[in-house]
């Protein structure tokens, strides 16, 4: 890592620019490929014009993909930070995410019970949503640090697979602990996100005249909230890691734990803080996920966790910027696969295969470029 004096303003602007670049870049590339495919196989369908359908759907698919990408990126940061510091895949990260989601949803349900949540758009709705996100972050961060202390720290010197298996155990344990708690308290194991604040309202961006019809392209308020929250968190984390004293300590531990210890860094504290930050980001993503998909259930963390891990590997695990890029690319790819796969294959393969997409990408990336899109050389420490 270069030695440079951080310029606070630059540390905010730079990641913003990178994010914008990633969104634009991956959107253009993926849309281009999709349109190309549409043009190439245009002749296979007689009942509709493939190209036209593709173009009509495109803006909506892009928006969905970007929203998904922000959530994956936020979760992926948790994986990437822990991996950077400990070289360890925190398999239970998806469950920290799930706990955060439940914490936020429970808080909002309680507030709704108190009659505090406004039904229409208002400032208070945003305040309460923000509060739910913060509570989700606190709960996830706490769980994350506790898990590190109990299940990971005692195993730090053990062979690589030992902490990984422990993490799998924690993941399973946490899923059923939440299920047990929810079943005992509510009788059902999932919770619905309360409807409030008029977040489901759609804002019309523009209309496309096409064949005499007007196609409206709209964005849900939910999506805007998620995008803004995602940007704030990604930029904030980047600032924390690159421009503060704590960030310097985290980077030094990531580079060489023993040497940082000798230089006076409290390694255990830094590792715990890394888990706290990663877990908190996961928790925030969890609340946003529940907000977007209006539901929290004990098993919700598994697939997003796995995909966010894929995103982290895709971007180059251990790299924060890489996680943002990976998340964005994966979110877009998944959104495209979900919408176009069925159209392009005449219904033979539907959106069910979108999960396979993520795994296929993971396998391909690991085979051909294990260091990820942005990664430098691979470091394979034993």
């Amino acid at each position: 890592m270069r030695v440079r004096r951080p310029n606070p303003l630059m540390e905010i602007l730079r990641p913003l620019g990178q994010l914008l670049l990633f969104i634009l870049g991956s959107s253009v590339v993926i849309s281009g490929i999709t349109i190309l495919i549409a043009v190439l196989i245009r002749g296979t369908r007689t009942d509709m014009d493939l190209l036209q359908i593709t173009l009509v759907l495109l803006p909506q698919v892009l928006i969905d993909g970007i929203v998904l990408g922000f959530m994956y990126a936020t979760i992926a940061l948790g994986y990437t930070m822990v991996y950077g510091v400990l070289e360890f895949i925190n398999f239970a990260h998806g469950e920290f995410f799930m706990f955060g989601a439940f914490a936020g949803v429970e808080l909002l349900i309680w507030m709704q019970g108190q009659g505090w949540l406004p039904a229409d758009q208002s400032v208070m709705a945003y305040v309460f949503l923000g509060l739910a996100i913060i509570v989700g972050m606190i709960v996830s961060g706490t769980i994350s640090v506790t898990t590190e202390r109990i299940a990971y720290r005692p195993l730090r010197g053990a062979p690589r697979l030992v902490p990984l298996i422990s993490a799998i155990g924690v993941s399973f344990l946490l899923q059923d602990v939440m299920r047990f708690y929810q079943s005992a308290v509510n009788g059902a194991f999932y919770r619905s996100f309360p409807t409030f604040g008029g977040f489901s309202e759609r804002i019309t961006l523009f209309t496309l005249p096409l064949d005499g019809r007007d196609i409206t392209i709209a964005i849900q308020l939910t999506s805007i909230v998620i995008i803004v929250a995602g940007i704030v968190m990604l930029v904030g984390l980047n600032y924390l890691v690159n421009a503060t004293r704590l960030g310097k300590a985290i980077r030094s531990v990531a580079q060489d734990r023993n040497t940082s210890y000798l230089m006076g860094v409290d390694v255990n504290r830094i590792i715990a803080l890394t888990f706290l930050i990663g877990g908190a980001l996961g928790g925030a993503a969890g609340v946003l996920w529940a907000f977007r998909f209006t539901r929290a259930d004990p098993y919700m963390g598994f697939l997003p966790g796995l995909k966010a891990f894929t995103a982290a590997v895709l971007g180059g695990i251990g790299s924060i910027v890489g996680a943002m890029l990976g998340g964005m690319v994966l979110g877009l790819l998944e959104s495209f696969a979900a919408s176009y796969l069925s159209i392009f294959t005449q219904g033979a393969f539907g959106a069910e295969y979108k999960d396979i997409f993520a795994f296929a990408i993971l396998i391909l990336i690991l085979i051909f470029r294990p260091s990820g899109l942005l990664g430098g050389k691979t470091t394979q420490k034993a």
């Binding site: 360890f88 895949i89 299940a151 005692p154 195993l155 053990a158 062979p159 690589r160 697979l161 030992v162 902490p163 990984l164 298996i165 422990s166 799998i168 155990g169 924690v170 993941s171 399973f172 344990l173 946490l174 899923q175 059923d176 602990v177 299920r179 047990f180 079943s183 005992a184 009788g187 059902a188 194991f189 598994f302 796995l306 891990f309 590997v313 219904g347 033979a348 393969f349 539907g350 069910e352 295969y353 999960d355 396979i356 993520a358 795994f359 296929a360 993971l362 396998i363 690991l366 085979i367 294990p370 394979q380 034993a382």
Partner: protein, 468 residues
């Protein structure tokens, strides 16, 4: 197992020493069997019965005596007792089936040190293979699920089960190689995630390959699947009547198949144990150990890394493929649900609980986890649901049992127990209940009660931990 010096016997083993110990074990086995005849439905008696098998394993006697004891128990006493409660045979079948799976996974994880989290995928390959060819699915390939009728005949006669057992082994091994070929150069933890992904891919495929061609019949699963034919004598009414007289309850054809699959699974398990032991001591087994411990050094010593890892994958997968075929025939029904991540992890729990790389440990782990899974938790759930129907109250509270949500069924919380087991084992006893010698040396800090001058085959002493 070589004769152990008396200095390192555990307290239990010391109690079972000599002819007196032999008589004690014999008495316990007979006692447990007798109790079983008296109350064939009791969980405790079942546990006692299986515990006596463990005692037979533990008693410090000559190898052939233990084999004789164990053989008589497994092949004569247990099937006889199975006449009184068919569930015993089901339990035996499941334990043997999962023990075989766990032995296969043990080759990959325990011997070669490659963490495979999608192991159940190979099981699925075997199961779906026989499900496809052993049912009428071939005739329904162009019909969507739920729209077709069941015919009285099948495209393949039932005896094809036996050839397909071999085909299943080969198909699973090929799948193992196909998965292994691209991913085996990945490091341990990446490999774990990729295999997990692969397991999920197989499950998603099984769920969705009902279109465009109906290969798997989607989430509904394939049924009916044929069971292999039995000799006419065993299915004759006369034979059934004889058995019914002994058992004091009507014995049906399904019960006969219960016995049949129990024997098949036991035989396959014995073959698997034999193979695993031979492999562990072979040149290949030592290569696995070498790449597990230090792959750079192993390559430097001339071990072909790729090929050695691939063989581990292929052989591990083939165990699973064989069991898949048997499982499909036993259930006569296959659906994607069986092949979830939970199933993969439960097999991993068996291996880790018993002891990575330790063959007796893995079998014990399989027995414990299977008991927990299909017997203990189910019994608990039944107890709970009968309490729920009563009018009692939860002890120390004023909450009636009946207000307890059905969501709290213990049988639904397998993951809780698996997770807890994994974490606790990793922290307190990563080498498992019956550790393999090597793992014990590596993972336990304190100096081990190593017999003096013991030579562990083909091993270079770990450079640390032994010196203190």
């Amino acid at each position: 197992m070589s004769a152990q010096s008396s200095a390192q016997l555990s307290p239990i083993q010391r109690m079972l020493k000599g002819p007196l110990g032999l008589i004690l074990v014999f008495a316990i086995s007979v006692g447990a069997s007798y109790l079983f005849v008296l109350s064939p439905r009791s969980l405790i008696v079942r546990l006692l019965l299986l515990g006596s098998l463990l005692l037979i394993y533990y008693m410090p006697q000559k190898g052939w005596i233990k084999l004789l004891f164990g053989g008589v128990m497994l092949l004569i006493v247990l099937p006889y007792l199975g006449l009184f409660n068919p569930f015993l045979m089901e339990l035996g079948f499941q334990i043997a089936a999962f023990a075989t799976l766990a032995l296969g996974l043990n080759i990959v994880v325990g011997f070669a040190g490659l963490l495979d989290l999608g192991y159940v995928a190979f099981f699925a390959v075997g199961a779906y293979l026989w499900a496809f060819f052993g049912s009428q699915q071939i005739w329904h390939m162009d019909e969507p699920p739920g729209t077709f009728t069941i015919y009285p005949t099948f495209p393949f006669p039932a005896w094809w089960f036996w050839p397909f057992l071999i085909v299943g082994i080969i198909a699973a091994a090929i799948t193992g190689i196909m998965l292994g070929f691209p991913v085996l150069r990945l490091r341990g933890d990446y490999l774990a995630i990729v295999t997990l992904g692969f397991g999920e891919v197989i499950r998603v495929l099984a769920n969705n390959l009902d279109k465009p061609i109906n290969l798997t019949n989607g989430p509904q699963g394939i049924t009916p699947i044929q069971r292999p034919p039995l000799p006419a004598y065993f299915t004759s009414q006369e034979f059934l009547n004889q058995l019914s007289d002994i058992a004091g309850r009507p014995i049906s054809l399904n019960d006969i198949y219960g016995f049949f699959f129990y024997f098949v699974a036991i035989v396959v398990l014995i073959i698997a144990i034999f193979l695993a032991r031979r492999l562990d001591n072979s040149k290949l087994g030592r290569s696995w150990t070498a790449i597990r411990e230090d792959d750079v050094a192993a390559v430097a010593m001339g071990v072909p890394l790729r090929r050695t890892k691939l063989t581990a994958f292929a052989i591990g997968a083939s165990f699973s493929g064989a069991m898949g075929v048997i499982y499909a025939a036993n259930r006569t029904f296959v659906s994607p649900e069986t092949f979830s991540l939970t199933a993969s992890i439960s097999i991993l729990v068996m291996v880790i609980l018993g002891g990575l790389g330790s063959i007796p440990g893995v079998v014990l782990g399989a027995a414990i986890v299977t008991l927990l899974n299909i017997d203990f938790l189910q019994t608990l759930s039944l107890q709970l649901s009968s309490l729920r129907q009563g009018s009692g109250f939860i002890p120390l509270t004023s909450i009636p049992w009946s207000s307890l949500p059905t969501q709290l069924d213990p049988a639904r919380y397998q993951r809780l127990f698996f997770g807890l087991l994994l974490v606790v084992m990793m922290i307190f006893r990563p080498e498992g209940i019956i550790p393999s010698q090597r793992q014990r040396l590596e993972l336990h800090e304190e100096p081990v009660d190593e017999p003096e001058g013991a030579v562990i085959e083909g091993e270079i002493e770990p450079d640390h931990k032994l010196e203190n």
